[in-house]
Amino acid sequence: MGAAQFVLENVAKRFGNQVAVNPMNLEIRSGEFLAIMGPSGCGKTTTLRMLAGLEAPSEGEIRLNGVRINEFKPHERETPMVWQSLALFPFLNVRENVEFGLKMRGVPKAERAERAHRWLQRLEIDQFAERDIGNLSGGQRQRVALARALVTEPPVLLLDEPLSALDANLVVRMQTVLIRLQKELGITFVYVTHSQSEAFAMADRIVIMNEGSVEQVGTPREIYRAPTNRFVAEFVGTNNIIEGTVSSRKAGMLECDTALGCIRTLCGENNPIHPGNRVDLVIGADLIEVSAEPIWSDNCFPAAFIGEEFVGSVATLHFETESGDEIRVQKQQRETESLELAHGKPLYLHWDADTVYCLASRTSDERGE
């Protein structure tokens, strides 16, 4: 991964009295695939539009390769974007759409046609070059939008939820196309999405935003396994979050009182959590084991099976503990067969102390509720 390409320093955006983005700091490294993820209205698209110059920051500074670019107009930047609506020009055909950026930069006609053709070929849509936009399928339009943005060979590509209009299997195919393109071109991709599966499948790093603020920046693994706050823990993945109070701390082992009973977790030397603190315990659904008999483990609780759902070969099993809490467990479907699941069947859930991630509870005030 290269050096910092974009630097956002205390960048904020307000529309009138409404805050879209709180002062934020972010570094985007040259050549990385960065996903900005969050629920709708979290400020992710506004951030992207500020990079493209379509919104002017109300505060702070955006630098590109060390140069302040706040005042640069959109057309003075090389930050082509793939739009959620695609924004293809309906009165131009495929080739003319792709040539648009070159034409605006005064590239001569013959060269324009040649370069557009190369990109149409690369994205396997050269046979549609003379078609109207209206006569293309969703996936083909997607490729036209990509070709149109990339034809000027920019150092960065901005993508604003480009796959949200496609159906599931097309999304997977386009993800492969995007990952391959990014690796081959070696340019920075900044990808805004509300979909975890897209972000986790493609990104080198992920920025999680909520209500105009950055909640966490990290690799997919960090975000998934080491969420820094409850919002991230809840937003990402199928984590189980159990509230509790620390009852003891000795030799790197924490014991917490929860509705379930005592849950044990590991605790680093520098972790400032002490007995009496309220904590949220995060347990990844895929890290919980299920057995028919009680097992000697750090954490083992009886629970009744109450239902399951499938996505592909992954099953999400729902259990109800004696305290009435629901716990979700993810397993490969073939692993579940030996359990002979039936509604209400009593089983045991267990997990090791090192799989529990312990978060100091924020007060409700901090959470902005």
């Binding site: 002017a56 109300s58 505060e59 005042e71």
Partner: protein, 283 residues
């Protein structure tokens, strides 16, 4: 931190044309006309001044008030006629035909506005004449002949030619947007067709009905052709007064008095009508 669009020439380029043009050639004339109503005429020449003399002269003449009352009365009559005549047609178009037929009907109702109003009035002149076609048809039925030209009846026919299609369009559009379930609910509760109309359709389509009536009033009140050619111009309406005063000499300030009075009247009526239309309950 400086605002990016401090002097946005591009934005101004698009904003200014209408401002400049309409200020120079729409607002300025209207303001000048108001000013002109205070000018004097000496030796057949207009002199810029600020005197109330035109206002006093016009307002003290009986013929002005006769015209004023006549104009108001005719326009009010036209409004009542148009609203009443249009309502059954709009009701039928809104509730008893398919969307497609309604679209076509509205298209055909727009067509008259692209035919010369003058020519249509001439046709009515021919139709309504003593030896004209209406009397011819009535003659076959053993009726008539009736004197229709140069009566208030003919003026109202002219006004209907001018306003009826528009009133039908406006009423239809407002009634077609009424939630059908309201009407079905009324029927379910045992309301007959007439009760449903009075208690559901009219209140729900109120805005459209009033806007239609208002347009009819404005158009009729400002029309010069029908009262002049069909109504026989005696006694004159305000519009005929303006035309005669302007066309036959230099008494423009007095014409301006009439025009300003008309505008003021229309503004009061339009304002009350729109307030009434959007108020839920009127004491």
């Amino acid at each position: 931190m400086k605002p990016r669009h401090n002097m946005d020439i591009y934005a101004l380029t698009w904003r200014l044309p209408v401002l400049v043009w309409q200020t120079l050639f729409f607002i300025a004339p209207l303001v000048f006309m108001i000013a002109m109503s205070f000018f004097l005429v000496k030796n057949y020449r207009m002199v810029e001044a600020f005197e109330l003399v035109n206002w006093m002269k016009m307002f003290s003449r009986d013929y002005f008030w006769d015209s004023y009352v006549l104009s108001l009365g005719l326009a009010a009559l036209a409004t009542i006629c148009a609203t009443a005549l249009a309502f059954p047609a709009s009701y039928a178009l809104a509730f008893m035909v398919s969307d497609n037929i309604r679209r076509w009907a509205i298209f055909f109702l727009i067509i008259p506005y692209f035919t010369s109003y003058l020519v249509r009035i001439f046709s009515w002149y021919v139709l309504l004449a003593e030896a004209g076609i209406a009397n011819g048809v009535l003659g076959y039925l053993g009726l008539g002949p009736f004197t229709m030209l140069n009566t208030a009846f003919a003026t109202i026919v002219g006004y209907m030619a001018l306003t009826l299609p528009l009133v039908v369009i406006l009423q239809t559009l407002s009634m077609a947007n009424i939630d059908r379930s309201l009407i079905e609910a009324a029927h379910n509760l045992g309301a007959g067709r007439l009760r449903t109309i009075v208690s559901v359709v009219v209140p729900a389509g109120k805005v459209g009905l009033i806007v239609g009536a208002l347009f009819c009033f404005i158009l009729s009140f400002g029309d010069f052709v029908s009262p002049y050619y069909l109504g026989g111009s005696k006694p004159p309406t305000l519009t005929i007064l303006i035309t005669d005063t302007t066309k036959s000499g230099q008494q423009w300030p007095r014409a301006a008095v009439v025009a300003v009075t008309m505008m003021a009247t229309l503004m009061v009526i339009a304002y009350s009508a729109i307030r009434y239309a959007y108020n839920r309950r009127q004491p």
